[in-house]
Symmetry: C2
Subunit: 524 residues, 2 copies
């Protein structure tokens, strides 16, 4: 149950807690009854569209890109490190070629699975192996809900969406900002945003690699929230960042800088090339995955040079574009195959894998559900370890939808239930129960059913399984309308994760100091 | 393209063809551009939740049900046949016990794959092996669309839905009535319904096993439509029927009678026990699948006794109920696992497998899409050969929705495209193209892209991939609203499959004669 930790009495900052409305809810019970927090595990074999030979061919193409074409690193320290390691720096001073033996040797120090421990150790997540963990939508500039329509992101919406992220146990980590809080100046936005994430939730958090100050401030705030010394912080992963290459073939300064700072402190970086087939990558999936692999491994190699053994994740964001408009599409057949192929490459290199629950739809309707459904199936059949953008994503990532968040959590819960093993004991095979019931009977009241019915099946919170007449009598509510009612109840009953008042004070003091210093410099 | 055969000039019965509106469509082009007719093939390994030992345990449970409990056959001829074959008939005269050696020996004559050839041999479908074929929703009493709401079935709605069935190349066969035409008297309903199916479409058709007259009339009409002699009809499968056991453990007279008549003429029967876990079957999936297997194999054994080598299909309809209300649920985690487990059992017995694209939703919204999406993924990851109820199903099968039909066909096309192999030639791996584009470039205009962009990606007909602003300018159309416009265009441009006027005359004469004779006797 999500409220397990809410019984703690130390809740110094229940900001926005709608105490006055709690009275209205008496007798209604919680908004939903959730399955307990658990980290799903893949027990099925992944789906593998490539043969072993196919994997070798994509690998060979990736290695040729690294050896013969090279990747640009727009960061002097990165170039200096790679030069020192024996890579060839081309005449332009930024293009690096690296041999396949060097690449394959360097990635052996990158762990194939690791744990990230947030301020609440009970919410630690394992990344890699056959684990699957899910995070909410990150980085959209807009949000929407049925009441307000679609609007530019605000700190209020950010806070609401972080509450959902904390509330649902099927969400295991906090990705990037669930919506960009445009109403907070960029120089101090990261301070307010990370404070909100740290104080409302005790789940693992992402931090952006967007210049020195933002990542260093985030590291410091995660350290403070965890009540950790610098040494304790560095001892094991506590947070993570995600970087994207500027495809094709380029890693920019801000992301490299943040990732190297994270690696230096033993913190994980997810490297997710933005290889949209037909636009920033070849129109062929094998070509796009080869390029994704080359761009991803190039950065992972650099991070292993910075600190051998620091964790990194092979990120897959390969999808296709609408060839009529160039717009990115998600949840497509190509996206599914690209994700499954990425799974094969990640396992080939012994690296954890990240992909996304993405869609292109503009509204939380059938298209949004089939596209997200395809993306989710892509992730689970591909053996994806970190599923980004799991809840709330619409419009190719340009909008965080409150209603879609609810819809996605329903789909996530179902998928996570599906991933559990099926029992085949003698009692499960139920020959005696079948004999007892006999021809023409039914199983409703039998002991075999009574002993199991409460937990035998997954119980949805958003699906309406009533018959048409009852559904109509209840107002013919569409799924998005039910989702709309649900998120309001969740906000009403939300309880933040417990946190020591002293830690909140320390966070606030840090934020105040950094604001006084001007936060992260901007030119406006 | 679906219109390949429409160029034929012999179209004596373009009933309802909206010739007057054709002018309106000039310059608009076809409603959709479809992928060509093809029979999808599974190239990936299926997902198998059971270990080999687990399969043996479910098999053993099924065999114990057949050996120790027995199955009721409410048909004297069936009992006589099984008695003659050495089965034990219990004192009640209807319960049959059969030994596992007998069962396993009998099913060896049942083909693991076969072909059904309709009146147009180009539309022949293969059932079994690694083939997947899809049919539309069958048997709902109601239909709905956004214009009319939800109504009791009519012959007009039946006809519209058969037109959709014929129109979409992702639909390979005609299942049962797409909606029950309640406005036609039951005594002659099968005559009008099958005539409509035969004349509008040249795809394989189902016929109901509901008493002697209905199945015999259907056989005769399929024979006439194909221009076949009795001998030619019997030489190979031309149609099929589906029977459901009355779970638990009972096969009723009308279905057994129809199936035995079909087997006698070498025509296939799909045996689909209605084993809803928690209601008519154990609450445990292993128990429900064991019961499904026992009920299914019992009938298949009987049909092999009637005519060794006649084709049959192992049908899976196992899902779970809402334990609060007893209502059946579909597209659930349990449904996915049950379907995958059924795939393992079907392959264990060397039998083709049928399952469904089902959902419980009351409206073609997000819930409908995630439930159907889960069902479709269940089918394809389970290796299902015949996917029933692929398009149009709502409300647990109580309603055929016009808009859901369009949504499902979009999802089917995407799934069928996904099932195609991924290329990994050197040209696919695209190292040269990546070198040509270089860092900071893009792939839009490159020869590698230009040579492939028209066919590189699946192109949806119902997804709206425009950005939010354009989507809003176009009226913020929900998926179901776009689907509503689409089915109207499809009905406008519909062309029936070409058919010889003489054959239509012969069908009509048969229908007239049988109506004069009273059709199938009813007591009202």
């Amino acid at each position: 149950m999500t409220q397990d930790t809410a019984a703690d009495t130390a809740k110094p900052n229940r900001r926005r807690r709608s105490g006055g409305r709690a009275g209205n809810m008496r007798g209604r019970g919680p908004a939903i009854v959730q399955p307990s927090w658990h980290l799903p595990e893949y027990l099925d074999n992944p789906i593998e569209p490539l043969t072993g030979e196919g994997v070798e061919k994509v690998h060979d193409a990736a290695m040729r890109i690294l050896e013969e074409i090279g990747i640009q690193f727009l960061h002097d320290d990165a170039i200096a490190i790679l030069r020192r390691e024996g890579c060839t720096i081309m005449a332009d001073g930024v293009t690096v070629r690296m041999g396949r033996d060097f690449v394959m040797e360097k990635i052996t120090t990158c762990p194939s699975r690791f744990t990230i421990t947030p301020r609440n150790p009970d919410k630690a997540i394992e990344i890699g192996g056959n684990r699957a963990v899910f995070g909410q939508v990150g980085s959209p500039p807009n949000y929407s809900n049925l009441d307000e329509g679609r609007r530019t992101g605000t700190m209020k919406a950010f806070t609401d969406l972080i509450k959902f992220t904390h509330y649902f146990d099927c969400i295991h980590f906090q990705s990037g900002y669930p919506v960009e809080p445009i109403d907070v100046h960029p120089s101090i936005r990261h301070l307010d945003s990370i404070r909100t994430k740290m104080v409302l939730s005790d789940k693992v958090s992402h931090a952006y690699s967007l210049g020195v100050e933002r990542i260093e401030d985030a590291i410091e705030m995660v350290r403070i929230a965890g009540g950790l010394t610098d040494e304790a912080f560095d001892a094991t992963p506590r947070m993570f960042t995600n970087i994207n290459s500027t495809s094709p073939l380029k890693h920019d300064w801000p992301m490299l800088d943040g990732a190297m700072r994270m690696a230096a402190r033993n913190q994980p970086t997810v490297v997710s090339p933005f290889t949209l087939a037909g636009a920033m990558a070849p129109v062929t999936l094998a070509g796009a995955i080869a390029q994704q692999t080359a761009e991803g491994l190039a950065a992972i190699v650099l991070l292993q040079c910075v600190r051998p053994g620091s964790p990194a994740v092979y990120g897959s964001f390969t999808s296709n574009v609408d060839m009529k408009t160039g717009a990115p599409a998600f949840g497509t057949p190509e996206y599914v195959r690209a994700t499954q192929m990425s799974g094969q490459m990640a396992r080939f290199y012994g690296l954890p894998l990240r992909a996304s629950n993405a869609c292109a739809a503009n509204f939380p309707d059938a298209q949004a559900a089939w596209e997200s459904g395809n993306s989710l199936w892509a992730c689970t059949t591909g053996g994806v370890n970190m599923i980004y953008h799991s809840a709330g994503w619409l419009e190719g990532g340009l909008c965080a939808s409150y209603e879609k968040f609810m819809i996605d959590c329903e789909m996530l819960q179902q998928m996570q239930h599906y991933l559990k093993p099926v029992g085949v004991t003698d009692a499960d095979c139920a020959v005696a129960a079948i004999e007892d019931v006999g021809a023409g009977g039914h199983f409703f009241g039998t002991p075999h059913t009574q002993d199991r019915y409460e937990t035998a099946f997954y119980s949805p919170f958003l699906s309406d399984w009533s018959n048409f007449e009852n559904w109509e009598d209840n107002g013919s509510q569409r799924t998005e309308e039910r989702a709309n009612r649900l998120w309001k109840r969740i906000l009403e009953e939300f309880e933040p994760a417990p946190i020591d008042a002293a830690i909140v004070d320390e966070l606030d003091a840090f934020v105040a100091k950094r604001k006084e210093e001007g936060g992260a410099p901007t030119d406006f």
